[in-house]
């Protein structure tokens, strides 16, 4: 199995690896670069599914693209169009590769399900704190582990 997660890791050296354990939301395995949102994400009115970008003007990731990334975020906010908008990223080929959701809700759980990408939640450390944008991440949502390779 893996080593337990480190409680304080944001300043780990490049190449360091840490492993978190979490609850499976959507099973499967996804590997890729992390895009970490420091704040909740809106679906409807918050992303453009045609482009895979964040469009909320006041958002820290305004104009960033999540296509092909592992999207790490604290929670979903805003309209109930959330899942439908993320489903549309799948249908239009702009979806993220996987999701790591610090705190799940009906909205984001359904969103992960219909985006059909490996997703974990309820991790044993705050993923938005221990993962940084650009880190390399492996979601094993068959076993419930998340491996982070610091960039």
């Amino acid at each position: 199995m893996s080593t337990p997660s480190s409680p304080s890791s944001p300043s780990l050296a490049a190449g360091a690896k840490l492993t978190l354990r979490g609850r499976i939301v959507v099973p499967g395995i996804a590997v890729g670069e992390a895009m970490v949102s420091p704040e909740p994400i809106s679906g409807w009115g918050g992303i453009d599914p045609a482009k895979g970008t964040i469009i909320e003007r006041r958002h820290a990731l305004f104009s960033a693209c999540f296509t092909g990334k592992i999207l790490v975020f604290p929670s979903a906010k805003g309209s109930s169009g959330w899942a439908g908008f993320f489903q549309a990223t799948r249908l239009q080929g702009t979806a993220p590769l996987g999701m790591v959701i610090a705190r799940i809700s009906a909205k984001s759980a359904l969103g992960a399900v219909v985006t059909r990408v490996p997703t974990l939640t309820d991790l044993d450390d705050d993923p938005c704190r221990v993962i940084a944008t650009g880190d390399y991440v492996r979601i094993d949502a068959d076993s419930g582990y998340l491996e982070v390779y610091k960039a």
């Binding site: 899942a83 909205k107 359904l110 399900v113």
Partner: protein, 429 residues
């Protein structure tokens, strides 16, 4: 998950492939939310008819059956959709034929939607066409389990009516409409309905009108996120319009799906009841400084005082709000360069028409529009650069969606801006 015999039968195809696909989605979704079982619902509010490029392509490929399968059931199967198993309604969607030539909205979308309304009506979907189903007779009873989407409707149903729904999505409401089931998690369960954040309104704040209830909601959402704010302190009794605005704002700035106001919302006769026991020692104060901060946040994307467009009725206006707008417009005329839209459920426009309010608004140059809103339909009058609204939700979303500037203020300030073409709003103590 523990399934009843009935649910296993549906999963295994005894009721046909569409119902089996619906159960499959509910089981995937149930696992995702960590539900132990499903609960029965017989009140579903979702969206099937809203036009989109993805949907148009699916309809072209395989008709509405295909579109429902892909979008509303998240299924790759090919099958015909049966009649809705439980009462189901369509929420707000795109503009309809009554907006043709008035709103810059594609005729193909209007036609696609009309076709959808006919299809889904035949399958037993009540075409309410509003974000406020509770304003047109869809009233879940206290404690009733529902599957609703539309964040402003969900928070109203949970908090003001005491019904129980999560903030569902297009696929989960689609699956619920064909099965009468939804995962029994989150807001469906007693232990998840207590308050989490105490917000104390300072007596000097003056929360006693539509504007202020919206700002307080925006503040509460920022504090509580997806949790459950409890509002105490000193404020005037809110009416349905105030609570509609409060909830829509709290669901926008945060993801609030349930709040309590002791003595006013039915699950919290007292603050202790709202928290299910111990009241937090420290609350978040909402005083004049916090109020000003919210006001400035909602106005930070406004720069030019030249207003092209005024939007009222988000969430959809009540008859009484239309009456107030008509009273403010009586005998006046809009500025040549400014449009004013007030969004209402089409059913309630019928009442506004016969009460004479629509005529007053139309005489002044305004429009009473139905079914949709600029955010939902991603449209505003051609050339709009700056808009004004009395809705915190619309002020939040529209700049992102349409790339325009926003002013937020009172209904009367918005009407004045429509008449003068200039924004002169300010925060009064």
């Amino acid at each position: 998950m523990l399934l009843t015999d009935d649910e296993k039968r549906m999963r295994d195809g005894a009721e046909g492939p569409a119902v089996a696909a619906a159960m499959d989605l509910l089981l995937r979704y149930g696992r995702a939310v960590g539900a132990e079982r499903l609960c029965e619902v017989r009140n579903v509010a979702g969206t099937m008819t809203q036009p989109s490029p993805v949907k148009a392509a699916l309809v072209k490929e395989g008709g509405w059956d295909k579109a429902f399968a892909v979008i509303n059931l998240d299924s790759d199967g090919d099958f015909a959709i049966p009649d809705m198993r439980v009462p189901t309604c369509q929420l707000q969607h795109g503009f309809g034929a009554d907006a043709l030539g008035i709103v810059p909205y594609p005729k193909q979308s209007i036609e696609l939607q009309a076709d959808a309304e006919a299809f889904y009506g035949r399958h037993g979907v009540n075409i309410l066409a509003t974000c406020t189903p509770y304003q047109v007779g869809n009233l879940p009873t206290f404690g009733e389990h529902c599957a609703w989407m539309e964040s402003s409707a969900v928070i109203y149903a949970n908090s003001v009516l005491g019904a129980r729904t999560n903030c569902e999505g297009i696929a989960s409401t689609g699956a619920a409409s064909l099965t009468g089931k939804v995962p029994c998690a989150g807001n469906h369960r007693d232990e998840n309905r207590h308050g989490t954040h105490l917000i104390e309104v300072d007596p000097r704040t003056g929360v006693d009108n539509f504007l202020d209830w919206g700002m307080l909601g925006y503040f509460a959402g920022g504090i509580a996120g997806e949790d459950h704010p409890v509002i105490t302190g000193d404020f005037g009794r809110p009416d349905i319009n105030d609570l509609k605005h409060f909830g829509a704002a709290a669901a926008t700035s945060g993801g609030v799906e349930l709040y309590h106001i002791p003595g006013i919302t039915p699950e919290a006769l007292t603050t202790e009841a709202a928290f299910g026991g111990a009241v937090p020692a420290d609350g978040y104060g909402y005083g004049p400084a916090q109020r000003r901060h919210v006001y400035e946040t909602l106005n930070e994307i406004g720069g030019s005082p030249d207003v092209d467009f005024v939007l009222l009725g988000c969430p959809h206006a009540s008859v009484d709000q239309v009456r107030q707008a008509a009273a403010a417009l009586e005998g006046r005329s809009l500025s040549a360069g400014t449009e004013l839209w007030i969004m209402v459920p089409r059913a309630l426009r019928e009442i506004a028409d016969r009460s004479g309010y629509t005529a007053v608004i139309t005489r002044a140059g305004g429009r009473v529009l139905t079914d949709s809103c600029p955010a939902m339909s991603r449209t505003a009058p051609a050339g709009t650069r700056v808009f004004a609204t009395d809705s915190a939700k619309q002020a939040h979303y529209l700049p992102a969606i349409l790339g325009i500037e926003a002013w937020f203020g009172t209904t009367e300030e918005c009407v004045d801006a429509a008449v003068t073409g200039r924004w002169r709003g300010e925060l009064r103590p």
